[in-house]
């Protein structure tokens, strides 16, 4: 086990552990904050995998934007503060099919890990700190991947318009009498 593997194991443990906390915590905001921890650990994992630029984009977008958005949403939907009582059909966080979900999740993990272990038991990543900077990525993005990039911008535009239409209450389908 190399030092990198040790560090990666630690980071992975943090990521997976905080992810488990995200899906099991009884407090809504804690879930979002554990999500920050998980994403941060993942950013560290990206750094280890020499994907430097991706790591900081991860922090910028996920931690800086997505999580703030999620927190914003949590606050707007009036999440109560504090630990929520676990119990029955009125449990505000977990639905009834928790055990089925657990079974499916475990089965998914089993299948995925089995497949991966079968397929990549002898694959070794040769880490060289060269490919993860902004320059090679930029060059590749604007040469080879420019079409998907542009398509992505269209997608973002659509998402932008969609979000605006969804959240504005003063625009909507006209009813039959012509008033809003």
């Amino acid at each position: 086990m190399t030092a990198q593997e040790v560090v990666f194991t630690l980071l992975g443990a943090v990521a997976v552990g905080s992810a488990i906390l995200v899906v099991t915590t009884r407090q809504l905001v804690h879930a979002a904050l554990w999500l920050v921890v998980s994403f941060g650990a993942l950013a560290g994992a990206y750094l280890l995998l020499t994907a430097e630029f991706v790591a900081w984009v991860q922090v910028l977008i996920y931690v800086g934007a997505v999580v703030v958005l999620l927190l914003f949403g949590i606050m707007l939907t009036r999440a109560p503060i504090g630990r929520m009582p676990r119990g029955g059909p009125d449990d505000p966080l977990d639905s009834g099919n928790r055990w089925a979900a657990l079974a499916v999740a475990l089965a998914t993990a089993g299948v995925l890990i089995t497949t991966l272990v079968h397929g990549f038991s002898d694959a070794v990543i040769d880490l060289k700190a060269e490919g993860g900077g902004a320059e090679p990525l930029g060059a590749s993005l604007f040469r080879t991947w420019v079409l998907p990039f542009e398509v992505l911008s269209v997608l973002l535009l659509a998402a932008l318009i969609g979000a605006i239409v969804l959240s504005r209450t003063d625009i909507g389908p006209r009813d039959r009498e012509g008033r809003r």
Binding site: S95, N97, A100, A101, V104, A107, T108, G110, H118
Partner: protein, 676 residues
């Protein structure tokens, strides 16, 4: 020649559609142009929906209300003035007149140069037996065709006045035209299937025309009844055509008749019997005759055209047309004879007791058609066709004259007339000629034709059973002697009854005191003169028969018939003379009701056919509801219950759906991992 014939058929056919599509517009155009010329004349286009003249069987409560309208009709003869502005009538009359002219040319040609002219316009290949769209003109077809055209022309002209205010004149005239074309098609057809086409088109036209005043429920019921009864016979007719056509290997009439000697007797008998069913339906013979009296619900000109002169004659015409086939099947002729005997005596008796003038004439039509059928049954084909023609003339006359009387009196009922002799002299004399012809008094046409049939029957009765006596003038079909004798006697008896009911109707209409409250005057000129014109052939047509040997009067038959006629007429007169205000039929006592109801045949049908069928239908409904519906509904219930069980899964909870979905994906992926 064939071109002329086809033109004769096509003219009314096209006129029917032209009248239907363009009639109103033509009326409007004509009245628009006539308006400045007429000056102050009120522009009443025929489209104006005015109350129609509905001659109904029951004494309508609005009889008095109709008097001003009638006086308007009778006074200044508006109908004649209006004719130039009546678009549909113009189209119909012009085309019918032209068709008549063509039919006359055809008839003249055939008369001058006898022989069959045949032509095939096109051949429809069907895979087995080809259908030829062909026409033919021989003596028979030319004669009957001419008769049809003339009667149709008379009816078209007559209708202009009779239905002057009818809002549906357009469709009326069109259907009469279409009917004429169909009848002509039957007459001139050289192919059985083509004939059948005409036959069916006549049926549907008849339906529409009987139900012309469909606002009254009774009229539409009568139309439906006529349609269904004739359809019933038509089924047999169609199968008979197929039997003949398949047996002979061709549908061409000439080909079928040529093949008759080679056909097996069974096939021939079966086919002709089936054809008889259609004939009985169309020609209103027992037991399918009950539609005809009810069909009097239609306008009177329609009764004259369809139910007296042409359509009912189609059945007789078809037998005459296919006579060799019938000749070869004596059993069918025997059946025809017996049917004729029952029809003629029964309907004559029924006519004796009717209170409705048109129904008297309707039953007399059945009776007279039975004469023709009897004539055909005993082998007197020429005589039968001769009677067909003369009957066409005098029955059209009688009906149209009756229409005039009805229009003037505002009622169909005999009991409302009386004393019209002086006020309607032309109608009176014309109708007298018609009745004389109906009875068979010399020297009018009916005498000659009826006499020759009676003579044929006498000859058949005399020679029946005796083989090999081929020396007499007319050959005799091989029917049993008893049947021949029955026909002969029935013919004579019917002459007597005919005289009685004709005398009764004549006396009750024109003599004695006026019983109804109406303003008696002559009918509109257009109608009166049409009737008068028809009286001429009714009177003199008989003399044309003198040219043929078998149509000349024979002393014995004529004497016997005249004796019977005199007896019947005298009885009717004596009964009437005791009390001219009363109906002589009242003397019949309880029999009167029986005759009036035509031996309760409608009730019998109701009891034997209608009620069982209705009961069966109810049973079927019950079975359907309790059995089949219950099964179907039960199926729905089961599937609903099964669906209810499955529906529990359909919770609307997206997460459980997703759980199932992902579980499925995992299972599949696991399967793939394990198997591969």
């Amino acid at each position: 020649m064939i071109a002329l014939v086809s033109l004769t058929i096509a003219l009314p056919f096209c006129a029917a559609f032209a009248g239907m599509l363009l009639g109103r517009r033509l009326s409007r155009t004509l009245s628009a142009r006539a308006l400045p010329a007429a000056g102050s004349a009120a522009p009443d286009a025929p489209t104006t929906p005015l109350p129609a003249v509905v001659p109904d069987a029951a004494p309508a409560p609005g009889d008095e209300a109709r008097v001003p309208e009638l006086s308007r009709l009778a006074g200044p003869d508006l109908a004649l003035r209006r004719l130039p502005r009546n678009g549909p009538a113009l189209i119909a009359i012009a085309s019918t007149a032209l068709a008549t002219l063509l039919a006359l040319i055809v008839a003249t040609t055939v008369w001058l140069d006898p022989g069959t002219r045949e032509g095939t316009l096109t051949l429809v290949p069907t895979g087995t037996v080809d259908i030829a769209i062909g026409l033919q003109a021989d003596g028979l077809a030319a004669l009957v065709g001419l008769m049809v055209c003339l009667v149709a022309l008379a009816v078209q002209i007559y209708s202009v006045a009779y239905l002057a205010e009818d809002p549906r004149y357009c469709s009326y005239a069109a259907f009469v035209s279409l009917f004429t074309a169909a009848m002509l098609l039957v007459v001139y057809a050289a192919d059985l299937l083509l004939l059948y086409v005409g036959w069916e088109v006549m049926g549907i036209c008849s339906y529409f025309l009987i139900g012309h005043h469909w606002e009254d429920r009774a009229n539409s019921r009568a139309a439906v009844k006529a349609f269904l009864m004739t359809r019933l016979g038509d089924v047999g007719f169609l199968i008979g055509i197929f039997a003949l056509g398949i047996g002979a290997g061709t549908f061409s009439i000439g080909g079928v008749l040529d093949a008759v000697p080679d056909l097996p007797a069974g096939t021939l008998t079966a086919a002709t019997l089936l054809l008889l069913a259609g004939v009985a339906g169309k020609s209103a013979q027992f037991p399918l005759h009950t539609w005809l009296p009810d069909a009097m619900a239609g306008p009177t000109p329609i009764s004259a055209l369809i139910h007296a002169a042409t359509m009912v004659a189609a059945g007789i015409y078809v037998i005459a047309r296919l006579y060799p086939a019938f000749w070869a099947a004596p059993a069918s002729l025997t059946v025809l004879g017996i049917v004729a005997v029952i029809s003629m005596v029964g309907s004559a008796l029924a006519a004796l007791a009717q209170t409705d003038l048109k129904r008297v004439l309707a039953y007399s039509t059945i009776s007279q058609l039975a004469y023709m059928a009897a004539g055909l049954a005993v082998g007197a084909q020429t005589a039968a066709v001769f009677h067909l023609v003369t009957h066409g003339a005098f029955k059209a006359l009688l009906f149209l004259a009756a229409g005039s009387v009805i229009l003037v009196a505002g009622s169909n009922l005999l009991g409302r007339y009386g004393g019209l002799r002086r006020t309607m002299p032309i109608t009176f004399w014309a109708m007298t000629v018609g009745y004389a012809a109906l009875i068979g008094l010399p020297p009018v046409s009916g005498f000659f034709s009826k006499d020759s049939i009676i003579e044929g029957a006498r000859h058949a009765a005399a020679t029946a059973g005796r083989e090999g006596t081929g020396d007499t003038a007319a050959a005799v079909p091989d029917i049993p002697g008893g049947a021949a004798w029955a026909i002969y006697i029935a013919l004579l008896v019917t002459v007597g009854i005919t005289a009685a009911y004709a005398m009764r109707a004549w006396l009750m209409t024109f003599f004695g005191e006026q019983r109804g409250s109406f303003q008696a005057r002559e009918a509109p000129a257009l109608m009166t003169w049409t009737v008068a014109a028809l009286a001429v052939p009714s009177a003199v047509l008989g003399f044309f028969g003198l040219g043929a040997a078998e149509l000349r009067p024979h002393l014995v038959s004529a004497g016997l018939a005249l004796l019977w006629a005199a007896g019947g007429g005298a009885a009717a007169y004596l009964l009437w003379n005791r009390d001219p205000a009363r109906d002589p039929a009242d003397r019949l006592g309880p029999l009167r009701t029986v005759f009036d109801r035509a031996f309760y045949l409608d009730e019998l049908y109701a009891a034997l056919v209608v009620r069982p069928v209705r009961a069966a239908a109810r049973a079927v409904v019950v079975a359907d509801r309790r059995g089949l519906d219950a099964l179907v509904v039960g199926t729905a219930g089961w599937s609903r219950r099964a669906g209810g069980a499955l529906r529990r899964i359909q919770t609307g909870n997206a997460q459980s759906y997703l759980t199932g979905l992902l579980a499925g994906v995992v299972v599949i992926a696991a399967g793939v991992v394990i198997l591969l």
